[in-house]
């Protein structure tokens, strides 16, 4: 707010304050990012030494040779940032998106099961929360098991579940999405139980004096009131949904998807492929969360909430 006012007023003193506030915000982040990149480049030298040391000696040694060989090794232990960037560029922009070599194709395979699982998990989680809020005995019998269900490391047994579910003849995308569903429903249930109970007693009493049915109360009071909780949960859910989809692709035989790409890279020692897949997955996760944040802001604004 302060920065906007400074821009509009245009006084030199305010402009200076504005610049200072922008600097306060971004300089630390930029510094840390820069430090990480420098550290990364520096670490390339000792990490790759096993592979590069003979070549450096053969080339006559020296600092320049060390840098050149450490940062351009074909199958490095730790690839340098620009190598990873070049690999991403080559597999995203330099090939057609539907080719088997294209990361866009693999990302699409993973994203589609991520989104199906996210949708199913969100619906299941909301349904469970509505049940728990309305039926007292459901809360007592179901809630402890909802919590206990998450102490089973489902991600760890995901590949096995995929193999078993695969034998049942369901379409591939649903078996993969079921893992994401299992991971997604929990944050949504927990958040929505809290959210559906968030309207205060006054508002609930008002609905009662209107003689509103519990369905009307749910639709007109509880669901709108739970929206901020829903979005907070969805942001957590979509991130773990993507993780679930990636791990679900790990069992041997998976031919497409980010997870298959990781496994393939690890089998053939193709480190650049692993790093590129990781960065693209990270980018997708960040985009999904950002998209949900934008949706959250828009819907809260339409509801007239001060966000």
């Amino acid at each position: 707010m302060k920065t906007d006012a400074a821009f509009r007023s245009g006084h030199s003193q305010d402009m200076a304050a504005c610049a200072a506030s922008i600097a306060m915000k971004h300089v630390p982040l930029l510094t840390v990012t820069l430090a990480i990149i420098i550290f990364w480049y520096a670490m390339c030298i000792p990490m790759n030494a096993v592979l590069t040391a003979p070549k450096i000696v053969a080339a006559g040694g020296g600092f320049a040779n060390t840098l050149i060989f450490s940062w351009s090794e074909g199958r490095p232990v730790l690839p340098s940032p620009h190598q990873v960037f070049r690999e991403i560029w080559n597999t995203v922009f330099a090939v057609e998106p539907w080719a088997i070599k294209s990361l866009v194709y693999h990302l699409w395979i993973t994203l589609s099961s991520t989104l199906v699982g996210f949708l199913m998990g969100g619906l299941l989680g909301t349904a469970l929360a509505i049940g728990i809020v309305h039926v007292a005995s459901l809360e007592k019998s179901l809630m402890p098991w909802v919590i206990a269900s998450q102490t089973i490391p489902i991600l760890a047994i995901a590949p096995m579940l995929i193999v078993v579910l695969g034998k049942t003849g369901l379409p591939d995308i649903f078996t993969k999405a079921s893992i994401s569903t299992y991971l997604c429903f929990f944050p949504v249930t927990i958040g929505m139980v809290k959210g559906l109970r968030s309207p205060d007693v006054m508002q609930q009493d008002l609905m009662r004096t209107y003689n509103a049915s519990s369905v009307q109360t749910l639709w007109k009071l509880r669901l709108p009131a739970s929206l901020p909780f829903l979005f907070a949960s969805l942001k957590v859910s979509v991130a773990i949904s993507l993780t679930g989809a990636i791990v679900a692709e790990l069992p041997t035989g998976a031919v497409a998807g980010i997870g298959a790409r990781l496994l393939n890279g690890s089998y053939y020692g193709n480190t650049l492929q692993i790093w590129a897949a990781l960065f693209v997955a990270a980018f997708a996760a960040a985009m999904l969360v950002l998209l949900l944040s934008a949706l959250e802001k828009y819907s809260l604004k339409r509801m007239g909430t001060k966000a």
């Binding site: 840390v32 007592k140 089973i152 692993i274």
Partner: protein
Amino acid sequence: MIRATFTLLIGLALCVCVALGFSRSNPPTGQDWALSMAFVICGWVTAWSLSWVADLTLPKAQTRWLVPTIFGVGVIAAWQAYVHASAIPGVLLPSPSEIYTKFVSSLPTLAADFVQTIVRAVIPGWLIGCCAGFLTALVCDRYDFLRRGLLPFGNLVAALPIVGMAPILVMWFGFDWQSKAAMVVVMTFFPMLINTLAGLNASGHMERDLMRGYGASWVATLLKLRLPAAMPFIFNALKINSTLAMIGAIVAEFFGTPIVGMGFRMSTEVGRQGLDMVWAEIAVAALAGSAFYGLLALVELKVTFWHPSYQRRR
């Protein structure tokens, strides 16, 4: 009460009907999806109404533990009944009794896997990751510049699929437990960092002003006010990390292990169609995970007894 009993009876009757339906279908293979779904739903209704009846008839003090227990036992009974009625092959879904038999008969193997995965990888990794995250949070708190730089970064990393780092770490630290412990460290570091930083800001302005009024140093304020106030957040991170640690260690084993470990056992037994052994490993993982979580919850109760979420429950 009448409604609950009525639901229970209907659920039981439906279960029997579906079981008869299975025995009529020739041969009973468990591949009939409509019947299977019907059985699962009936079993769930029965288990739920059973716990409903228990909730209404038993004295209040016992229901907090008994109702979920009855529900769980009901679900396991329905599972057993389903496997028997549908004659579903053990390759798809072994019955709880088969899993129990396998569990008891292969205790040494399970123990070896437990030591390799939990004792060598999960616990050290969890300890190192949590301590590193906590210490980094303290440093970030002391130097605001670092906090501004690292916090957005930590928030981003928390949303990323970090499990994908597993193949890289296996390459760096070798096939044995070291790479799994490293995976756990990476997975647990950022949740701890974020939660501790949030917790250190949880103490109120009034209290902090009071400490300033006393002329307390940063260390004294930290020890006497801000760390105790941060404890609920720190325990939250410890609990989240206990689950993440199990996941990290087991998933990392899919990318290469010596011939022992829970993840290794699961992936090989799936290949050999020994699903009862896989479920036995899942049982170990669930028991270990629940025990880990329960222990943390107990310690949390002792440390943060003053917090409103515990005060209200009494």
